[in-house]
Symmetry: none
Subunit: 224 residues, 2 copies
């Protein structure tokens, strides 16, 4: 679960980022609206925490632009102003929720959970495709009677692919999704993990395989 924090108050932004990380989220933190826009559109986040009061471009405008560009990631707006007019404005600009500063960390976390819940609910707690299933509670891949535990990265990659089993995922997309936008991970890293996953798929005796398309990416395949 990846979250983007956009707030020009550096200390607060960092604090939120750390709070999220302590609670098992992946978090990217940026301090400028411009960067926020860029990250949001390229980073594939599950939620964006967006401050309203920022120099140059305010949170309303960021939200509006994102929505205009068909970006539908849930947005939690954060602000000092707590009058009804600005709440209404925030929500109508595309925010999904609105939280006034100062806030209790518990409430922030609860609202983040609420905003990100839908995504995980649709997925239920077991993803399946062909003859394999991925248990999202214990990070285990199984097929028939055999099963094998997955590491965090292996899990994230397979989880992503199982959500759209027919789609081809480019290495870029996989890197930005699993490692984040500003990581210096090489493409070979993705290749290595694909190799690990293939080994495990073979180990559980599945007929599902990861097929690669040169220059395009990877996708799942079920050979009955």
């Amino acid at each position: 679960m990846k979250i983007l924090v956009v707030d020009d108050e550096v200390k607060l932004a960092d604090a939120i980022g750390e709070l999220l990380i302590r609670n098992k989220y992946m978090a990217d933190v940026v301090y400028e609206a411009q960067d926020g826009l860029y990250y949001a559109e390229h980073g594939d986040y599950d939620c964006i925490i967006l401050d309203v009061m920022m120099p140059q471009m305010d949170g309303f405008e960021v939200a509006e632009r994102l929505r205009k560009n068909k970006c539908s990631v849930p947005i939690l707006m954060l602000t000092a102003k707590d009058d009804i007019a600005s709440r209404v404005k925030g929500l109508d600009c595309g925010a999904d929720d609105y939280l006034a500063k100062p806030f209790a960390v518990e409430e922030l976390l609860a609202r983040v959970r609420a905003l990100t819940r839908r995504k995980t609910e649709i997925v239920s707690d077991v993803l399946t495709y062909g003859d394999i299933s991925l248990n999202t509670n214990n990070y285990t891949l199984s097929s028939g009677t055999k099963s094998v535990p997955l590491g965090a990265k292996e899990y994230e990659i397979l989880h992503m692919m199982l959500n759209n089993p027919t789609q081809v995922f480019s290495k870029d997309v996989i890197i930005s999704r699993v490692w984040g936008l500003d990581s210096d991970i090489t493409e070979n890293n993705v290749e290595a993990y694909m190799s690990f996953l293939r080994k495990k798929l073979f180990f559980v005796g599945s007929k599902v395989s990861i097929s690669s398309k040169r220059l395009l990416g990877y996708h799942l395949e079920y050979n009955q």
Copy 2:
């Protein structure tokens, strides 16, 4: 856009219902938690406005039961209690938002708008022309029941042509778009790929063909 209002305070519930109707929503209003559950599960709503304090069964439990039954309709919880603990509880029970009474009608409407906004229509990432379609998620060309995967270069060329199906594309243009401006690719290369694409068009049994105009370039053609 259909909304369900569940609140045992009859006058308030009716008021909300009328407010919604004045704002172009369809609204059903019920005054008991049990009815709320039944309506929610059988009524196909876009949003549920749910009071917390109700006799017999409170709003938390209603939300929880709905979520347990895989009902993913957005829930806006309405309550007199406005302490952080109950907000957190509400959100964690499955509510998507939490609004304290008394509230401004403008804010209620804004939150409903926010909750119902994400009626995500899945953008079909498919380009079509005549009897063929090109799936941009898995780089596959299909016609009727048959389909065939494309290589990266084949895909780029066909993608470009499908964006303007009637246009004639010169080899120069194709080279500069697909291989880049400063490539030492020969025109024969384009010819070779056109041959590959024609083979695949034939393979899927399409009536679309790539026709060439001497000295000018290539374009798609659909012979019904």
